[in-house]
């Protein structure tokens, strides 16, 4: 079957109609395919969510046990005074009391501003996290045990968690006459972190 070139003008309408019909069919196909793809994605997401919810429900007893265990740890933090807001007046009073009780020589301290705790293995926890105030201590000691007892007493005061980071002990040279007298024989310089729990602003 041959169609003369001049006759093609008579086929414009049928060809246009055919093209329109094909385009409509293709459009239907594309739209339905798109809907189907979207629906499949939504179904997969819903299936995953459902599976996760099921898994979480299966692990609810484990989660409860974990919460109980974590709350024990939290109670331990509370018992060490970490949960309460840092009270520097109490801290200073406590240092003074220890000095008096232990009959220590001069104690000089410098407490820095509070900041997030940055130790190895510690990462941001969220709304409630550990923060620390670094305290530099310079003390005159009769014996190195004075330093150890001071640190032990500070920890026992339960005002915060005391984490000793650095200590330097230097011998103070005395003549033979003062070797046995009650004068400082050691000077110490320590850096101690006072760690508490704090609501961190996001």
């Amino acid at each position: 079957m041959k169609i003369a070139r001049e006759d093609f003008k008579h086929l414009r309408l049928p060809l246009f109609a055919a093209t329109l019909l094909i385009a409509m069919g293709a459009a239907c196909l594309v739209v339905s395919e798109t809907w189907l793809i979207d629906a499949r994605k939504a179904r997969d997401a819903a299936k995953n969510s459902s599976a996760q919810a099921q898994k979480r429900l299966d692990q609810v007893s484990e989660e409860e046990r974990e919460i109980k265990e974590n709350m024990l740890w939290y109670a331990r933090m509370a018992s060490r005074g970490m949960v309460d807001q840092e009270n520097r007046l109490d801290l200073i009073d406590s240092i003074a009391k220890i000095k008096t009780a232990r009959k220590l020589f001069e104690i000089r301290y410098n407490i820095e501003a509070q900041r997030p705790l940055a130790y190895p293995g510690i990462s941001p926890a969220g709304a409630m996290d550990l923060v620390s105030s670094r305290m530099k201590l310079d003390m005159q000691l009769l014996h190195e045990e004075d330093l150890l007892k001071f640190l032990s007493d500070l920890n026992a005061a339960a005002l915060s968690h005391v984490s000793v980071r650095r200590c330097t002990l230097d011998r103070i040279e005395r003549g033979p006459a003062q070797a046995l007298s009650a004068v400082p024989h050691l000077s110490s310089s320590c850096e101690v972190d006072l760690v508490v729990v704090k609501q961190v602003k996001s």
């Binding site: 169609i3 003369a4 055919a18 189907l36 939290y74 230097d170």
Partner: protein
């Protein structure tokens, strides 16, 4: 489906019929001449959308068989056109029929060339049809329809001779292997039906002889089947006259019976066998016909329009069906998603109910978990120097000549290897492998740098000083977990440096000093 108009053209007239579902109705009769053309034009104009079939039953018809070389495609078309042009003047009404290939190495093709030898009488009618933009399906002749007629009346043989009587005369059409090979139109002489039947039998015998002589029939090919379409009222005479012989096997059939077998429901009573051909033409519409594309221009246009609409509609329907299937899938998938979401809600509600029974926490469970994890890590790193002082005291007890002047203690992740800014001699090799030769991830160490002096030795007594310091280092190393990383003596014994001293002089006030760096891993 558009109406079908059948135009039966004989040498004397053109008869127009309408055909509808096996019923043939005569519309008009036009005398074969110029004067009838305007009336014919008006007839055609009344049914512009009808399909027109022209059945030409005239004596001026030619059949010629020829072998052509084995060629294909355009070359074959060109060769056939050239052969047709050599044989016929008017190529617009010429036809070639392939009759198969010769067996042999050359594989020549046997072609039947056929046309009307006088097309002048047809052209005015075709021109009128064209001027009225009539959809001419094709121009046919009874021989072209003979094979289809045989099939429709239930004759199964592939080779037969069809003898029929139309208004134009007696037509004999020889069909072999389903294709027309030869046909002739003649008159039957005779005053009554008995004589005419005898004449038909005689003509059939002569034609059988002719076909054999022309080698269209093999001499030992068996009896030739002959179908004789006889008038119903003379069926007995024809059966009596047409007696089968070893060469001819007659099948005499009444025209009424033949039409019934072919499916013709009704036709004008005065029609002869042409009604059978007209009905076969309308019902079968054979592909072989004479008209070229010029005569079929408006039919082809109509077909192209229909094909365009049909193609568009078919593809559209197919796409819509596929889209419907996808929509069905879409609703099924949505149903599944809805079920999953409902299940998730139910599980979440269940979880929330159970969670409400949990111990109250000061913050979210995840935050609490992370906080506790951080606190555990903090506790592991929270140690005081008292244990290290114990280790030092035990080492000093081994070497009482050593007196410490400075202790630097710190917690860190990297065990110090050498004293910063000082030229350090490597510590003597340890008896056991160092505990922290290679630090592990997350390991915490107590790192201590000691500065001390050796009281019992003279400053220039290098050997004794070295010995005492080494004893002290060995005592440190003996403590569990302690690794000495560097030792700095008050002098450098390497050959690259100079060294000076006094031997035998009295003890001077200068005291030899040393530095040792060691670490201990904090147990987690």
């Amino acid at each position: 489906m558009p109406a079908k108009r059948l135009l039966y053209f004989s040498s004397t007239q053109l008869t127009a019929f309408a055909w509808n579902a096996g019923t043939l109705t005569q519309d008009a009769v036009f005398a074969n001449g110029e004067e009838a053309l305007p009336e014919f034009g008006k007839y055609v104009a009344r049914a512009p959308r009808a399909l027109y079939y022209l059945l030409v039953d005239i004596v001026e018809e030619d059949f010629h068989q020829e072998l052509i070389p084995f060629v294909r495609g355009g070359d074959r078309r060109t060769l056939l056109d050239r052969k047709l042009a050599q044989r016929y003047r008017d190529l617009s009404l010429a036809l070639t029929v392939s009759l198969g290939y010769e067996t042999g190495p050359r594989r020549e093709e046997n072609i039947l060339f056929t046309s009307f030898t006088n097309t002048q009488q047809l052209q005015p009618w075709l021109t009128m049809l064209s001027s009225q933009k009539a959809r001419v399906v094709g121009v046919y002749s009874p021989p072209l329809l003979a094979a289809a007629v045989g099939k429709r009346i239930g004759f199964a043989q592939k080779r037969f001779l069809l003898v029929s009587r139309q208004q134009a005369g007696m037509r004999q059409s020889f069909v072999d292997d389903g294709q027309i090979r030869f046909s002739r139109l003649g008159h039957i002489e005779g005053e009554d039906m008995a004589q005419r039947a005898l004449a038909v039998a005689a003509e059939t015998g002569r034609l059988q002889q002719y076909l054999t002589n022309m080698r269209m029939l093999a001499r030992d090919g068996g009896a030739l089947d002959v179908i004789v379409i006889a008038p119903d009222d003379a069926l007995a005479q024809f059966k009596a006259a047409c007696v089968s012989t070893p060469q001819i096997n007659y099948n005499v059939l009444g025209i009424g019976e033949a039409c019934k077998r072919a499916g013709l429901k009704a036709a004008p009573e005065d029609l002869l066998a042409e009604r059978l051909f007209l009905h076969t033409l309308a019902a079968s519409q054979p592909s072989q016909q004479f008209a070229d594309d010029g005569h079929r221009r408006y039919f082809n246009l109509w077909r192209a329009r229909v094909a365009s609409y049909a193609t568009g509609a078919a593809i559209c329907t197919f796409c819509v069906l596929l889209a419907a299937l996808r929509l069905l899938d879409y609703y099924n998938v949505q149903e599944q998603a809805s079920t999953d979401l409902q299940q998730e809600r139910r599980l979440n509600d269940q979880y929330t109910r159970l969670q409400a029974q949990f111990q109250k926490t000061p913050t979210s469970t995840d935050n609490l978990k992370a906080l506790v994890k951080n606190y555990i890590a903090l506790e592991k790193q929270s140690i005081t120097p008292d244990k290290m002082f114990v280790e030092l005291s035990k080492a000093l007890a081994v070497v009482p000549q050593i007196e410490l002047e400075r202790i630097e203690w710190q917690i860190g992740a990297e065990p110090r290897r050498a004293v910063d800014g000082a030229q350090a001699a490597k510590a003597p090799p340890a008896p056991a492998a160092p505990a922290a030769a290679k630090t592990e991830e997350g390991q915490i160490f107590e790192i201590v740098q000691l500065s001390g002096r050796v009281n019992a030795a003279q400053a220039s007594d290098f050997r004794n000083i070295t010995l005492l310091v080494n004893q002290f280092v060995a005592a440190l190393r003996a403590r569990p977990g302690v690794e000495v990383t560097s030792t700095q003596l008050p002098f450098d014994l390497t050959a690259e440096k100079s060294i000076a001293g006094d031997i035998g002089a009295a003890r001077e006030t200068e005291v030899p000093r040393f530095t040792i760096v060691f670490n201990k891993r904090v147990e987690s």
